[in-house]
């Protein structure tokens, strides 16, 4: 089963993204915890693209596609901005005690994504950045 959503780059559209993902996952009947994990990971990537790659310009958009085959969920978020949003350094790390001491506001999103999903990959397609996430829903 597959489904696609075009997301215009405003943070006000994040609710629409989460609702879209929750509705898609209904057919798989995963646990509430699992649904929340997937919704959160996708929200984080979409928010990053909206804020950092597109400057919250609502004239820009992303394409979100979901594919479910048995229990495997594949997600692609395609960004059409000129920003190359690839993780050059590999899996992000986090020193949470230090993060707390410093009172940092950001830096948690991509760490969460790497811990919530089974696989996270960024690549280029037609000069666009694509984020691919996958997770086994069991």
């Amino acid at each position: 089963m597959t489904s696609r959503l075009r997301v215009y780059c405003s943070c006000h559209n994040l609710q629409q993204v989460r609702d879209f993902v929750r509705h898609f996952l209904l057919v798989a009947s995963p646990s509430e915890r699992l649904v929340n994990q997937v919704v959160l990971a996708i929200d984080e990537v979409v928010a990053n693209f909206i804020i950092h790659s597109n400057g919250e310009n609502a004239d820009h958009f992303l394409d979100l596609s979901l594919a479910l085959q048995d229990t495997r969920l594949d997600v692609e978020i395609e960004d059409y901005s000129a920003t190359n949003f690839t993780l050059a350094g590999g899996t992000p790390t986090l020193d949470m005690p230090a993060h707390l001491r410093q009172g940092q506001r950001g830096g948690l999103g991509l760490v969460l994504v790497s811990r919530l999903m089974d696989q996270v990959a960024y690549f280029e397609r037609n000069a666009h950045t694509v984020c691919h996430l996958s997770k086994t829903l069991s």
Partner: protein, 108 residues
Amino acid sequence: MKITSHTTTIVTLALEGELDASSAIKLDAELAQPALLTCDKVLVNFQQLSYISSAGIGMFLSHLPRLQGAGVKVVFFNLPEKILNVFEILGLDALLHLAVTEQDALVR
């Protein structure tokens, strides 16, 4: 979000709905209020919160040093299981004051 005061020294923030990159801005304004620095304790009730992203969590974390530096204890309570799961994934359950109930939060 609602703010209720138990006493002049304990303030409770009751979160509602979904806290994401869009709605976290309102939380920032509430946490920045100078009045919080005069409290002994700020309790944050998650019972009516159905979702939180890193933007919401980060907003809390960004205010903690200032509040704690002023001697304010911040306690999070009534976390729904799926939200507690996120805190656990980040390792925050071991670093923040979490309580199961409001009563527990009051005595922590």
